[in-house]
Symmetry: C2
Subunit: 274 residues, 2 copies
C-alpha cells in the first residue's frame, strides 16, 4: 500500500467546481500534503495569491500543469509557444513546484506531418531547457495516449519520451500516467529504463469500459481496468518514491459531484486501488 | 496513385444500410473488383448465398472479417472462441477469402491482467493455426489502436503483432490499418520488418479532429489527419501490392448516407487521398 502522505491532488480532478485556492484549501482540509495546480486555474486566482495559499496551508506542489503545445504552423507560433513555456517555468518557481509537466502538443494546424510535429517538439524543448535548468525546474514530458496524437501530444509512448530525454540531456524527465500508458506491452522495461532520476511524476486515474468520451470520461481509481498497483510496483522498483497525483477528467461524473466528497473518495480509494 | 483495381470495399463501411449481398451487388455496380465481408452480415444472408453472389458478380474477397476474441474468463470460454475461429476459417474458405482478419480480443471479463490476456491470445492463435494452415487461409492479426486494448484487442502495435508471428511461424501475418497505427513513431521500420510475406492486408479510413466516439466516428479518407499516401508508400516499399480496403465505422455520418453515394465517394477519394 502506498502511504497517504504521497497522495497529491491534481487540480484537474476538481476543476469544474473548485478554483485553485478553493482546491488548495479543500486539499488541506482533507489532510493532504500536496497539490498539482493547473496554470489556467492559477491565472484566474492570481499567481501570488495562489502561492500564498499554498504556503499558508503548508502544502507541497508536486508539479505545475502544464507547458508544452510546441507545434505550430509558423515560426511566430513556435516562438510564442517557447515564450509561454518560459513563463510557465517562472510560474513553477513562484509556486515552488517540483517540476513543470509538459503536454507537448499535437500536429500543427492544418498539417498531417506527425514526424514534423515531433521535430518541432524536440526543438521547442531544447529552446526552453536552458531557462528551466537555470531555474532548477525539471521539465517533465508526459507521453499521452495515442488517441491524443493529433490534437494534444505527439509523444505517445514512454520510449519516445525517453529518447527525447536522451537527446536533450540533464533537466528533463518523464511523467508516467497510468491512463496513457497502461496498454504498453513494454511498460515495465521502459519504466526501468527511465530510472529514478528521470521519473519525475506518477499520475493515476482509471480506464473505464466503456469509455464514452476521448477526453473527459476518466474513471476514479479502482473503477476501471488498469492494474494500478502493478504499475506502482514497477515505479518503485525503478526507485520512484515521489508524489502520486490523482488526476481525473470526468465531465459527467466526478466533476459534477461535491469536491469535498470527491477528495474523500480519492483518499479512501488510494488505500485500496493504488 | 494507387490503382482503383486495388480498392476493396470493406462491408463495415455500408453495414447500417446494406446487407452482405446488397453490398456485393453495390460494389459490383460501382465497378469495384473486391469486397471484404463481415461474418455477421454473411450469416444473415447465408454463407452459400453470399458466396454465390460474390461469384456471380465476379468479385474477389480481400479478407473475411473477423475471427479473434480469444481471451475469456474460463477454459470453456476460451475453447468456444477457438471453435468459433475454426468455423471462421471454414467460412473464409467457402467465400474464397484471401485471409481471415483477427481482432484478437481485449481483457477477459472482470480481469485487469492484460499480460494474461495477451498470453490467451497467443494460445488461441496457436490452437487455430493448424486448421488455418490445412485450409490455406492465412490468419491476419490486426493490431488495434491502444484505445481498444481493454475491450477489443490487446495487440496494439505492429511490433507486438510481428513478435506473435515470429513465435507462431508460417500461416500468420498482419493487417496494417492506418486508423490504428498512424501514430506509431516506428511504423515505417515495423512495416519493413513485416515484409511482403507477412503483410496480408491494408485498411484505410481517416482520423478526424475532433473524434467524438471511440468506435464509430472514423472519417472518410482525406477528411482527417492521417498521411495515408506516406503509409501506402511504406507498404509498397516493403513489397505489398494487394488490396486496399476502405473500412469506415461512422454511425452518425457515412453509415446514414445512401450507400451507392458512399461507394462513389470512396472511389473518388481513393484517387486523391490514398
Amino acid at each position: 500500500m502506498a502511504s497517504l502522505a504521497r497522495l497529491s491532488l491534481n487540480l484537474a480532478t476538481t476543476r469544474l467546481r473548485w478554483g485553485a485556492i478553493e482546491a488548495i484549501e479543500g486539499a488541506a482540509r482533507a489532510g493532504l500534503r500536496a497539490v498539482a495546480p493547473w496554470r489556467d486555474l492559477v491565472a484566474k486566482d492570481g499567481l501570488e495569491a495562489t502561492a500564498k495559499a499554498i504556503r499558508d496551508n503548508g502544502l507541497g506542489v508536486s508539479s505545475l500543469c502544464r507547458g508544452g503545445m510546441f507545434a505550430a504552423a509558423d515560426a511566430a507560433g513556435r516562438q510564442a509557444a517557447i515564450d509561454d513555456n518560459r513563463r510557465a517555468v517562472d510560474e513553477a518557481t513562484a509556486l515552488g513546484a517540483r517540476s513543470l509537466v509538459l503536454v507537448v502538443g499535437g500536429l500543427a494546424q492544418g498539417s498531417k506531418d506527425i514526424a514534423g510535429a515531433r521535430a518541432m517538439v524536440a526543438d521547442g524543448l531544447a529552446a526552453v531547457l536552458p531557462h528551466a535548468r537555470a531555474a532548477a525546474i525539471p521539465l517533465a514530458i508526459e507521453p499521452l495516449h495515442p488517441m491524443y496524437a493529433a490534437d494534444r501530444a505527439c509523444i505517445n509512448t514512454l520510449a519516445q519520451a525517453l529518447d527525447l530525454c536522451d537527446s536533450l540531456g540533464e533537466g528533463v524527465g518523464v511523467v508516467v500516467d497510468v491512463y496513457h500508458l497502461w496498454w504498453d506491452p513494454d511498460l515495465e522495461a521502459r519504466i526501468e529504463r527511465a530510472g529514478k532520476r528521470r521519473l519525475l511524476g506518477f499520475h493515476v486515474s482509471d480506464w473505464l469500459v466503456p469509455t464514452t468520451d476521448l477526453l473527459l470520461d476518466r474513471g476514479m481509481i479502482g473503477d476501471g481496468v488498469i492494474d494500478i498497483p502493478r504499475i506502482r510496483g514497477w515505479m518503485e522498483a525503478a526507485g520512484y518514491d515521489g508524489a502520486i497525483e490523482i488526476e481525473i477528467f470526468s465531465a459527467e461524473n466526478w466533476w459534477k459531484r461535491d469536491p469535498d466528497e470527491v477528495v474523500a473518495i480519492c483518499k479512501e480509494r488510494f488505500e485500496t486501488a493504488v
